[in-house]
């Protein structure tokens, strides 16, 4: 940084991502409130601790290996060559954006006067990781061991979502090149995968005791504190502003980047280094929130929990294409996704006896999948990248956005990298006797010992 303009751009970018991290912290605050509010009194403290513990567990593993995975895996490996080194192997060479620079012992993973971006960019992605793990956390409350949840949180937060981000979010990702995959604000990359993972775990974990009658009819449990749930969801909305901003690159000269020598075009870009504006996505964020809220209120007949969840589902549905949609498109797409997510939640609950305590699979998983599919139709033909756009399946250039590629992408996100790993890991933990708490503890309440001890303390104080 030897000239003022370069320094300003660098420091602005550093500060921009730093602010997004602060805002995204509110997502986790919201998730904690939401989960505790949805759990019953006798499980409150363990529910809070479970979601809180994912912060350190995902953070340290994200430092150990998660961030490395993101930079190493865009090629698959073996599925499409990198535009940086033309190799389909893991990107661990001396390329500019190689995983080599992001091993835990690299001097870029520390205070380094030559690098103002790695730490804040690492943290922005880390907060996405917390979100992915937290989505799973809500679905499985009141019956999973904290140990098992820790393992599952690391798996989704530092491994599987990271792989999907490398494949479908990285500018060099094979899914962009072969499928024309486009997911600007993570309908699939975070939400569909986390929803799918949660469903996989739930299929093995089973419902809370009493959730289904002996004839199989589902019963409604809670929420214990609807106000806490709604404020939690409000905070998630607030944090989502940071989430959207973190998915952008704030200032970039696309002229030379796209090979247009002599052309200068400074703009904000999406994560794919394709042009958009922070102003434009602000339209779309608010209109998709509104579409989701309206649809949620309508379909649930004014239920506060589903109205708030509908707002979130609306944003998630429209997120894949919110860098390019018209605000009115965004609103209607959000409404469609929310309606489908709500209907799917109750159909799956009744049909498969799945007890998703907070509707996380619906709000994140089904809405995310719907969003990806709709994006494939609405943005059909748009370039998925500014770099050398070509035909589908070629692999040496980038396919345009198309419905088939987006449907396959949705299956990869929800099913291959979400549901399957969640199901398999839960099966392993179940076989080891580590997945579910004892029946007696679930009935008594996870906080029984803590409460008993507090009561004794109270009596002794007098």
């Amino acid at each position: 940084m030897t000239d003022e303009l370069g320094a300003l751009t660098t420091i602005f970018t550093e500060f921009y991502y730093w602010i997004t991290v602060v805002l995204m912290f509110l997502i986790h605050v919201g998730f904690c409130m939401y989960e505790v509010g949805a759990s019953r009194y006798k499980h409150h403290q363990h529910t809070l601790m479970k979601n809180t513990l994912l912060i350190p567990l995902v953070t340290v593993t994200w430092f150990f290996f998660g961030w490395w995975i993101y930079w190493a895996f865009p090629t698959g490996p073996g599925l499409a060559p990198s535009i940086m080194n033309e190799s389909a192997a893991l990107i661990t060479d001396d390329s500019l954006f190689s995983a080599k620079w992001y091993v835990a012992t690299s001097n870029l993973m520390a205070v380094n006067l030559g690098d103002h971006i790695s730490g804040v960019f690492w943290a922005a992605f880390l907060l996405f990781s917390w979100t992915a793990a937290s989505i799973v956390s809500g679905a499985i409350i009141e019956r999973i061991t904290t140990f098992a949840f820790g393992i599952l949180a690391i798996a989704i937060g530092s491994v599987f979502w990271t792989i999907d981000a490398a494949w479908g979010w990285h500018f060099d990702g094979w899914m962009l090149k072969l499928l024309g995959y486009h997911d600007a604000y993570a309908s699939g990359v975070i939400h569909a995968i986390a929803g799918g993972f949660a469903l996989g775990v739930l299929a093995v974990l089973g419902p809370r005791i009493g959730k289904f009658s002996s004839s199989g009819e589902p019963r409604n449990i809670g929420p214990r504190n609807p106000w806490l749930v709604c404020i939690g969801l409000f905070l998630i909305y607030t944090g989502f502003w940071g989430f959207y901003a973190a998915c952008n690159i704030p200032i970039f000269d696309l002229g030379p980047e796209y090979g247009m020598e002599g052309t200068t075009f400074y703009t904000a870009t999406s994560i794919y280094v394709t042009p958009t504006t922070l102003s434009g996505i602000t339209f779309n964020f608010l209109m998709s929130l509104s579409g989701g809220l309206l649809a949620g209120y309508w379909v649930s007949k004014g239920d506060p929990f589903w109205t708030y969840s509908g707002g979130l589902a609306g944003i998630i549905t429209a997120s894949a294409g919110n860098d390019l949609y018209h605000p009115l498109q965004s609103m209607m797409i959000a409404a469609v996704g929310t309606y489908i997510a709500y209907k799917m939640h109750y159909w799956v609950e009744r049909r498969f006896k799945i007890d998703d305590a907070v509707g996380a699979v619906a709000v994140h998983g089904y809405a995310g999948v719907v969003g990806l599919v709709i994006c494939g139709f609405v943005l059909w033909g748009y370039p998925s990248s500014g770099y050398s756009v070509g035909s589908m399946w070629v692999g040496t250039d980038y396919a345009p956005i198309n419905p088939l590629g987006m449907i396959i992408g949705a299956i990869i996100m929800f099913g291959v990298l979400g549901f399957l790993p969640g199901y398999i890991l839960a099966k392993i933990l179940h076989a080891a006797g580590k997945l579910r708490i004892p029946r007696e503890v679930e009935i008594a309440g996870l906080d029984y010992n803590i409460m008993e001890s507090a009561r004794k303390d109270e009596r002794s104080v007098g």
């Binding site: 012992t105 061991t145 004892p438 007696e440 906080d447």
Partner: protein, 80 residues
């Protein structure tokens, strides 16, 4: 230990000339020993899982043997 002993000398060389001058961009202590810290951190991380997983299982077994009913917790609500 110290990676930097003189800020003036350190900052008067351009970052781009790092290989030519005395510029050191990584300013944390004990540069070169990152593997040692990583090993310690991984051991701590693994120990945490084993330790907390074991104590959680023990505590839950103990509670399960007491078999409190679904409403027994209500007797323990403290009103501080």
């Amino acid at each position: 230990m110290a990676q930097v002993t003189n800020w003036i000398e350190h900052l008067t060389t351009d970052v781009d000339a790092a290989t030519e001058g005395v510029q050191v961009a990584d300013i944390y202590p004990m540069v070169g020993l990152e593997w040692m810290w990583l090993t310690v951190a991984i051991v701590f991380w693994l120990w945490f899982h084993v330790s907390t997983g074991t104590s959680e299982a023990e505590e839950q077994q103990k509670l399960a043997r007491k078999r409190p009913s679904a409403n027994d917790y209500k007797k323990n609500i403290a009103e501080w």
